[in-house]
Amino acid sequence: MKIDHSQPLEYGTHQNQMNILGFWIFLGAEIMLFGTLFASYFTLENGVGNGPSGAEIFEITPVLMETIILLTSSFTIGLATHAMRINNKKATLAFLAITLVLGLSFLSVEVYEFIHYYHVGATLQTSGFTAILLTTLGTHGAHVTFGLFWGFFILLQIKKRGFTPETTNKSFIFSLYWHFLDVVWIFIFSFIYLKGMM
């Protein structure tokens, strides 16, 4: 494999460049995936049937916690990429680990939130609105969960193999994924929660 050292290592081979471009295109598909969920959400938003509406069940505190946690994790994964570029393995691993811990905290709060919905009688089966709400949140949450495993594997690989064209490439792509999940959350935060509580 030819490695081009004039660029960051994650772009260093032709295959690496293709991997990154390919992942961006995958994110394009993800935009559409969440776009479809939002389209369905806005359509079914007022379809509350006999169940509660968003304004009745949303709570600002957990939502705000989730938002701050995820924004911070997006910051730390950015720092991990930066540390990788200045060839600081220890800092990269540390920031990656912090990101994953933050991701786990996000999920914990989300689980709490789901339990809360269950207790106030908003389950998947309650109404069109609760179904699309929980599906949209759940799809995002499933992405985060998947990311936790993925990020953990990458952490192990960097630890064991150091910075190679493969590990840096994977790590960079993982950071793209993580930032993207943050972007999706911003839209969930704005157009599901805040719009619902307005």
């Binding site: 293709m18 389209a39 079914l44 169940g51």
Partner: protein, 648 residues
């Protein structure tokens, strides 16, 4: 025993029992045959684990042809059932199952697979690449498609077929009206093969953007590659919509949610809406590669360069965007106001314009050309008038107010078969014939091929044109029978006659493969058609590394230039070539997906959990794997090239 009762067929008939026996016997015969000829090792090493785009392409096309016969059998059964009034060959339930599987199999597992198979085989060759950008992912795409197709096809012998139409509208597709697991099969087989298709989309966009031969700028790509690029862009942005719609449908059926229910705040129309947000771009996913194939073939056999290259590309770019703006025309009659129907009526008519531009470009390419009437060219020539008729009836359907008359009648059925058969099926057969020597190193027999073309075209006209008339007279689609008083009888009989001719055509096409395999000469050389684009600049059949030396290109017809204008394609010396390793991981992953889908269909949660862990475990294994591929040595390449009759 209770556990096994769920696998029983809800509406059994002698026909289904006979199919069960036939499927069982065929499987046993295949297993015995492979074992007897001791081919398991060969099959595993050379095909099942391959990451070679050419072999994956061929496997796609073989699967597509199998599905064509499955879907074709359904079609003949439908035409037979409606050939005479009050026929009792199939009952209502079986007729529902037959038209549903016909639609799903033909669109998802035949047409899509054929299109993707041809792209797989041709695109890397046309751009002078060694393989696609992500060869392993490509194999995963194929096996996911295959797992989905097989899952769908076992439905009619285990648990019952889906019966809510290929559009699967709710609430009909909900558990209230479709009680069997049939629609679950629909959801999961399409979900699994859809994931594969999405991965193909990403793979080919990156391949085309990043792996073109030196000198091949975007505007110097062959037209089929352009059409593949645009198609894959549409795939990437359309398929996630289907993913979500299928997920919601699954939840409604298996977890009791109310997305598409008419109670508790659900909205049944949301399914139709999402289905067509994906479904209309899907139409263009099928037809654009066909346009690309016709562009190659018409230029080659008119012996002229393609007229209006830029307008061809421009119209495809416009189509890629407009195709996402027209979906509501599939349900004009749903009851929204004039404003909505007006908007989508106009966008629909607008999309006819770029398509029309392409028709004129093909005509002008042939103008003053020296046309050779080969089989691929005959299909292309048949395509232009027949497809134009289909397009014109499409514009008729686009008039929202008039659509109230056409909607859900045989007129519509005639229209979309009129665009899909001369559009997609003709293109696939033309492309298959055209690139056949590239795949296998011999030509298909022209005489039998022409017989096949004429049977297919005439059969098509007899089968579908009568439907325009019965449709306007009020014959509804998807009705399993009609009374004699309607007067639809004679025209439907004509339709059945046409279907018979088409069946003969496909039999001829298969016979042609057999005949040519036995009798065609093997020394066809590199360029049997006197073609123009880059894929003909390498040997037939193509060696695994595609090009011994990476070609250098300076136009969209690089090969033609090298023949006529002295352009030098191959400047470098032969050096060792880097190739990806084969892998058994894709087929294992797809196997887990198959078990996952099957278990989910029957709500066997233990199977779902185990196979989900299998899927994730396979992916984790892949994450830790270190695979840097292998090199083909210089000597080996020279040896291979010599066998073909000397290095270039």
């Amino acid at each position: 025993m209770e556990f096994f009762e769920r696998f029983a067929i809800p509406h059994p008939s002698p026909l289904i029992y006979a199919s069960m026996v036939a499927i069982g016997l065929t499987l046993i015969a295949i297993v015995i045959g492979i074992t007897y000829f001791n081919k398991w090792g060969y099959l595993w090493r050379e095909w099942l684990t391959t990451v070679d785009h050419k072999r994956i392409g061929i496997m796609y096309m073989i699967s597509a042809l199998l599905m064509l016969f499955r879907g074709g059998a359904d079609a003949v059964m439908m035409r037979l059932q409606t050939a005479v009034p009050d026929n009792a060959f199939l009952d209502a339930q079986h007729y529902n199952e037959v038209f549903t599987t016909h639609g799903v199999v033909m669109i998802f597992f035949m047409a899509m697979a054929f299109v993707i198979g041809l792209m797989n085989f041709v695109v890397p060759l046309q751009i002078g690449a060694r393989d696609v950008a992500f060869p392993r992912l490509n194999a995963i795409s194929f096996w996911l498609y295959f797992a989905g197709a097989m899952l769908f096809n076992i439905s009619f012998v285990i648990g019952g077929s889906p019966d809510a139409g290929w559009t699967n509208y709710f609430p009909l597709a909900g558990t209230d009206f479709s009680e069997s697991v049939g629609v679950n099969y629909y959801m999961w087989s399409l979900q699994i093969s859809g994931i594969g298709t999405l991965m193909t989309g990403i793979n080919f966009i990156v391949t085309i953007l990043k792996m073109r031969a030196p000198g091949m700028k975007l505007m110097k790509m062959p037209m089929f590659t352009w059409s593949a690029l645009i198609t894959n862009v549409i795939i990437v942005f359309a398929f996630p919509v289907l993913t979500i719609a299928l997920l919601m449908g699954t939840f409604d059926r298996q977890f009791g949610t109310h997305f598409f229910a008419s109670t508790n705040g659900g909205m049944d129309m949301l399914w139709a809406n999402l289905f067509w947000v994906w479904g209309h771009p899907e139409v263009y996913i099928l037809i654009l590669p066909a346009f690309g194939i016709y562009s190659e073939i018409i230029a080659t056999f008119s012996q002229r360069n393609l007229y209006g290259y830029k307008s061809m590309v421009g119209s495809m770019v416009i189509i890629s965007f407009l195709s996402f703006l027209v979906w509501v025309h599939h349900f004009f009659t749903m009851g929204h106001g004039a404003l909505v129907n007006g908007i989508f009526s106009i966008t629909t008519m607008a999309i006819a314009v770029p398509t029309g531009i392409k028709i004129f470009n093909w005509l002008l390419t042939m103008w003053k050309g020296k046309i050779r009437f080969t089989v691929p060219m005959l299909y292309s020539l048949g395509f232009i008038p027949l497809f134009t008729i289909g397009g014109v009836t499409g514009v008729m359907l686009a008039i929202a107010s008039a659509d109230y008359q056409y909607h859900n009648t045989m007129f519509l059925v005639a229209h979309f078969h009129n665009v899909i058969i001369p559009g997609v099926v003709f293109a696939m057969l033309a492309g298959l014939t055209y690139w056949w020597p590239k795949m296998f190193g011999f030509m298909l027999n022209e005489r039998i091929g022409k017989w096949g073309f004429w049977f297919l075209s005439i059969g098509f006209v007899f089968a579908f044109f009568p439907m325009y008339i019965t449709g306007l007279d009020g014959q509804a689609r998807r009705m399993y029978t009609y009374s004699e008083a309607t007067g639809f009888g004679p025209l439907n009989m004509l339709s059945f006659f046409g279907a018979g001719l088409m069946a003969i055509a496909f039999a001829l096409i298969v016979y042609n493969v057999y005949y040519s395999f036995r009798h065609s000469p093997r020394n066809v050389g590199m360029d049997p058609w006197n073609a123009r684009s880059l894929e003909w600049a390498t040997q037939n059949p193509v060696p695994e590394y595609n090009f011994a030396v990476t070609p250098v290109v300076n136009s969209s017809e690089a090969f033609w230039d090298s023949k006529k204008n002295g352009h030098q394609l191959f400047k470098d010396k032969i050096t060792k070539i880097h190739m990806p390793n084969n892998s058994g991981m894709p087929i294992i992953l797809a196997g887990f997906f198959f078990i996952f889908g099957f278990s989910f269909v029957f709500s066997i949660w233990i199977g779902v959990i185990v196979s989900a862990l299998g899927i994730l475990g396979t992916m984790a294994y892949r994450s830790f794997e270190n695979d840097h591929g292998r090199y083909i040595s210089e000597e080996e390449i020279k040896e291979t090239e010599k066998e073909y009759g000397g290095a270039k």
